[in-house]
């Protein structure tokens, strides 16, 4: 698996930057903000997380703005998923029960992945058994960077197999493969890792930029390279893979730039929470702030939305 195309970083960055000059106004902005909100994986991945913190996050996930009908005259969409550590999955599953919002769990020894494979697989199985609908795994960057691509591929395939078994009650489980692009450094590596992951996951699974624990996390350039890998897999094999940039996307404006990039790289079919997600903790609040401003003409204060 070394026949991935090369990527010219300067040109790729220039192309990615071009999407930041798209002017997204009026109706396009209204629709884009609601779409972005519906694509958020509301995330908390802290050592200090507790079930109560997760319940707070889940409440926010269900109703990002509880007074939306009064202020906006409409019901805003809920977010796509809540993303937590495996130990928090039971709390999240209980809090989100019946909402349609997915429980996403990081697993496989997140964020480093530096654990024996059987431990990482067990981590995954446990999260699924506890109620996770989606598994955000990390790849073995040590193996990747030392050129042992076969090892990386095999490990992804094994986690895919665990997810393919599904959860209790025949629940389908989707996989997101985190490349941790900040550690891969070059766009050639990002492309190769994307191709390698895509080859070893199923239709409907995702590739994801970052854990959020390494800087830089998601960037427009890295996301473009991954979107192009997804596009090529679709055109060559008809395999449809989703994309999740994570970390560093904090403003509504940024999220609209990402949507423009998805729209112009992959087209309409990917403009849905089934195929594109934002891994973010603070993005939702800025999106809400912009939605309120569009409606009322006023900016809200930070304390106007409940923290989660």
């Amino acid at each position: 698996m070394t026949d991935s195309p090369t990527v010219n970083r300067v040109s790729a960055d220039a192309r990615a930057a071009a999407f930041t000059t798209r002017s997204i106004k009026t109706t396009a902005k209204d629709a884009g903000l609601r779409l972005a909100l519906s694509m958020v994986d509301l995330t908390t991945l802290e050592g200090k997380d507790s079930p109560e913190k997760v319940r707070s996050l889940c409440a926010k996930a269900r109703r990002p703005m509880p007074d939306d009908e009064r202020v906006l005259g409409e019901r805003l969409p809920s977010v796509a998923a809540v993303c937590v550590y495996p130990s928090m999955v039971p709390a999240a599953a209980e809090a989100l029960d019946g909402s349609g919002i997915k429980v996403a769990s990081v697993a496989t020894g997140f964020p480093s992945g530096q654990y024996p494979l059987d431990v990482r697989l067990r981590d995954t199985e446990k999260a699924i058994a506890d109620g996770a609908d989606e598994i955000d795994m990390v790849i073995n960057r040590g193996a990747f960077l030392s050129g042992r691509y076969g090892v990386v591929a095999e490990e992804i395939a094994e986690v895919t197999a665990v997810c393919a078994q599904g959860g209790p009650g025949g629940r389908g489980v989707h996989l997101k493969v985190i490349l941790e692009t900040g550690e891969l450094e070059t766009y050639d590596n990002v492309r190769r890792a994307s191709d390698l992951a895509i080859a070893n996951i199923r239709d409907g699974d995702f590739i994801k930029t970052s854990t959020g624990k390494v800087s830089p996390a998601a960037t427009m350039g890295v996301t473009l390279v991954m979107l192009e890998a997804i596009r090529d897999a679709w055109l060559k094999d008809g395999k449809k893979i989703g994309m999740k940039p994570a970390g560093g996307i904090r403003t509504a404006k940024q999220s609209l730039h990402y949507l423009a990039m998805v729209k112009e790289t992959l087209g309409d079919a990917w403009l849905s929470p089934d195929w594109f997600r934002f891994g973010a903790s603070s993005l939702a609040d800025d999106v809400l702030r912009q939605i309120v401003r569009r409606k009322t003409g006023r900016y809200t204060a930070g304390y106007d939305f409940g923290v989660a």
């Binding site: 010219n8 798209r22 997204i24 629709a31 055109l235 060559k236 008809g238 729209k263 309409d268």
Partner: protein
């Protein structure tokens, strides 16, 4: 994994957008559930009903040439009326320039520099207004006039402002003297930028100028005259005569002109060369091109496709150095063409003032007719024609981003400059072959090379007979980088230290 080649074996001359996998036909849909709302640039720009010539620091009516109209090519509405210059106007302008020249040249160099800095700063302050006016008069997308043209215009004045007091270090110890009065004739594709390319080095070197903008795009040059007035540029240092070819000929032939600089078509360039021959006038010509853009199979393909787009669809292909001959190595030809087709679908063609427009209007009806003629020729010669599926506005002058397939070196569209958003695609097998074919052109303005292999870049670039060779990029400009061609693309350089040479006499 199957490859693009296997699935798209017949696709290079066909029209399907994507490869077809077994049992499904994966394509990408850009029709869009989520479309960008119109985002028109909203600032209103004042345009006078009529403009005169700018001679000796004043706007004056045409002596006897009457007037011409300038249109917005995106909707064919009249923007303004301007003076049509004749020999009498040229004579007055040359006289004004002559009168002003000794005093301008005698200014301490850093004082001349201050004027140029002031022009550059004022252009930056009024950048938005200039960008809108350029887009209305020319038809280019506001995105390009805002992000490319006007910033480069300011950059040229800044750059040459810096040269004013350093000229004596530019020529290896030889003492530079001004040439005198410069007659400068510029084209319509980058109206203000071409004015800057001509005026900035001339002024920096102590010359005075008579500038003749193109007849379809006079407005930004006339607005620039307002800037000269605002910053107190001495009267007569820059004179602007608007009009058609009659004014251009009169300027080139005027005995009081010491130097002629022309950017435009090779046909007119040849006439100018004949007119100037034997007169002792200095001459620089920046003419047409049919520049090769070469993609090797080891290139980063997605970025190379972006290079094709910026090579030929930038500014509607109205670029003398446009990468209008694409050479793709056979092993990646199908993939490149398939990806180019997809990319064309996301190019937004339409209202040039919309901030999301990628491809604007063709500058004039005659130019649109020229482009249409080449489509007819291509069809007559049996070539494949592929056009973007975009819809075009009902009024104005428009051409869909397009390319020709099945092109061989002898086909007309592979040899002649079209000056539109139209690309001739050819394939090649070896480096030696592509160098031979790239250089097999009467032109020699620019070239692009796309490969991920560093050693190959230098090997190929050194053998291309072109004034500018871009490596893994295309259509990038900088005032510090000299621009100009070989063969029928002209002679002399503009920009950089080399560009100063055309505006000095070395004593």
């Amino acid at each position: 994994m199957t490859t693009f080649q296997e699935q798209n074996a017949t696709d290079i001359a066909g029209s399907q957008t994507s490869a077809a996998g077994p049992g499904r036909s994966p394509a990408l849909e850009f029709a869009s559930a989520w479309d960008y709302a119109p985002a028109p640039e909203s600032t209103k720009v004042e345009i006078a009903d009529t403009y005169g010539h700018f001679i000796g620091g004043k706007f004056v009516d045409a002596a006897k040439g009457g007037t011409l109209d300038t249109l917005n090519p995106a909707n064919e509405t009249k923007l303004s009326t301007f003076a049509r210059g004749t020999a009498e106007d040229i004579d007055a302008a040359v006289k004004a320039a002559r009168d002003a020249q000794p005093k301008w040249a005698a200014l301490p160099a850093k004082e001349r520099g201050k004027y140029l800095y002031r022009i550059a700063r004022r252009l930056q302050e009024r950048a938005r207004e200039f960008a809108i006016l350029e887009t209305m008069d020319n038809g280019k997308p506001i995105k390009e006039s805002r992000d490319v043209d006007i910033p480069l215009v300011a950059a040229h004045f800044f750059y040459h402002a810096g040269w004013c007091d350093k000229l004596k270090y530019a020529f290896g110890g030889a003492e530079p003297k001004p040439v005198g009065v410069c007659g400068q004739v510029i084209p319509w594709n980058f109206p203000l930028l071409m004015a800057a390319w001509k005026l900035a080095p001339a002024l920096a070197c102590g010359n005075t100028c008579v500038l003749k903008p193109a007849e379809t795009t006079p407005l930004t040059a006339l607005r620039l005259a307002e800037v000269f007035d605002e910053i107190g540029l001495p009267p007569g240092v820059v004179n602007i005569i608007t009009g058609d070819g009659e004014a251009g000929s009169a300027l080139v032939e005027h005995p009081g002109v010491d130097k002629v600089a022309f950017t435009g078509s090779t046909e007119v360039g040849k006439k100018i060369a004949r007119a100037v021959a034997g007169t002792g006038k200095k001459l620089t010509l920046e003419l047409g091109g049919k520049s090769p853009n070469i993609i090797f199979d080891d290139a980063s393909i997605d970025q190379a496709v972006e290079g094709i787009v910026s090579g030929i669809y930038f500014n509607q292909g109205h670029v003398c150095c446009a990468g209008s001959r694409l050479f793709v190595q056979e092993g990646v030809a199908d993939e490149v063409v398939a990806k180019l087709k997809i990319r064309l679908e996301s190019l937004r063609v339409g209202d040039p003032l919309d901030k999301n427009t990628d491809v604007g209007a063709i500058n004039s009806r005659p130019q649109l007719e020229t482009i249409a003629k080449y489509f007819d020729i291509a069809r007559d010669e049996g070539l494949g024609v592929y056009e973007s599926s975009c819809e075009l506005p009902s009024s104005g002058f428009w051409c869909k981003p397009s390319f020709f397939t099945g092109v061989q070196a002898s086909h007309t569209v592979a040899r002649e400059e079209i000056f539109g958003p139209v690309l001739a695609i050819q394939t090649f097998r070896t480096p030696e072959e592509v160098i031979t074919r790239a250089n097999n052109s009467p032109y020699g303005l620019a070239a692009g090379v796309w490969t991920d292999k560093g050693s190959k870049i230098f090997e190929i670039a050194g053998q291309l007979k072109a004034g500018i060779v871009w490596l893994n990029t295309y259509n990038r400009f900088d005032p510090a980088s000299p621009f100009g061609g070989y063969k029928e693309s002209g002679f002399g350089r503009e920009g950089g230290m080399q560009g100063l040479r055309g505006y000095v006499r070395l004593g």
